[in-house]
Symmetry: C2
Subunit: 115 residues, 2 copies
């Protein structure tokens, strides 16, 4: 017999797995306070666009973020209505701000066209 608590911990583990990658964890921290565009992430992480898309997909499939299309751009932000949102917030607040990465973009003049 599968008890309720077993079910819950089995649902929680994949949430941590998806957070267990430095790219995705940094993405989540960046989205803690703002909506981010795919092309921003591509700049920030210096990683191929498909790779960024695939990371975002995992976060979205886990229900942690939501997407919003605006013209040709897609913006991602935390999915506030997620059943995991309280847990996620309590985790993110214990991680250091990653806003310097956005500021870095400004400085380099590699700020993105879309935003």
């Amino acid at each position: 017999m599968i008890t309720k608590t077993e079910f819950q911990i089995e649902k929680a583990a994949p949430i941590f797995k998806v957070l267990g990658d430095k790219t995705r964890l940094t993405m989540m921290k960046l989205m803690e306070n703002q909506t981010c565009c795919v092309c921003e992430f591509v700049e920030i992480f210096q990683m191929s666009q498909p790779s960024i898309s695939q990371h975002l997909r995992k976060l979205r499939d886990a229900g942690l973020i939501k997407e919003e299309r605006k013209g040709q751009w897609v913006f991602y932000s935390l999915h506030q209505e997620s059943e995991w949102h309280a847990l996620i917030e309590s985790i993110l607040e214990q991680l250091p701000s990653q806003e310097d990465k956005l500021i870095e973009l400004e400085k380099n003049g590699t700020r993105i066209t879309c935003c």
Copy 2:
């Protein structure tokens, strides 16, 4: 240049990765309130002893738990002095109790010799 915040999030991601497995996450929740013996885990998870040992090693290598040998048995418990302990506690308290798994052992009469 690697900034301090980059370093920290790069250190945090592997912590979530190690929690991102249902066996290890359940182990952590069980150890939240008590010290557990390897053989208990073997019974609870109905998994081979080497597999249990390997999971415990990952938790230990991440600095999340500590071991204490008592005779032929090895007991594991949360590593309270870990730099991650506050984060870990805040996570575990949001997960459902797994104590029913220990109670189940009692009922089945498969309670372990060591404890």
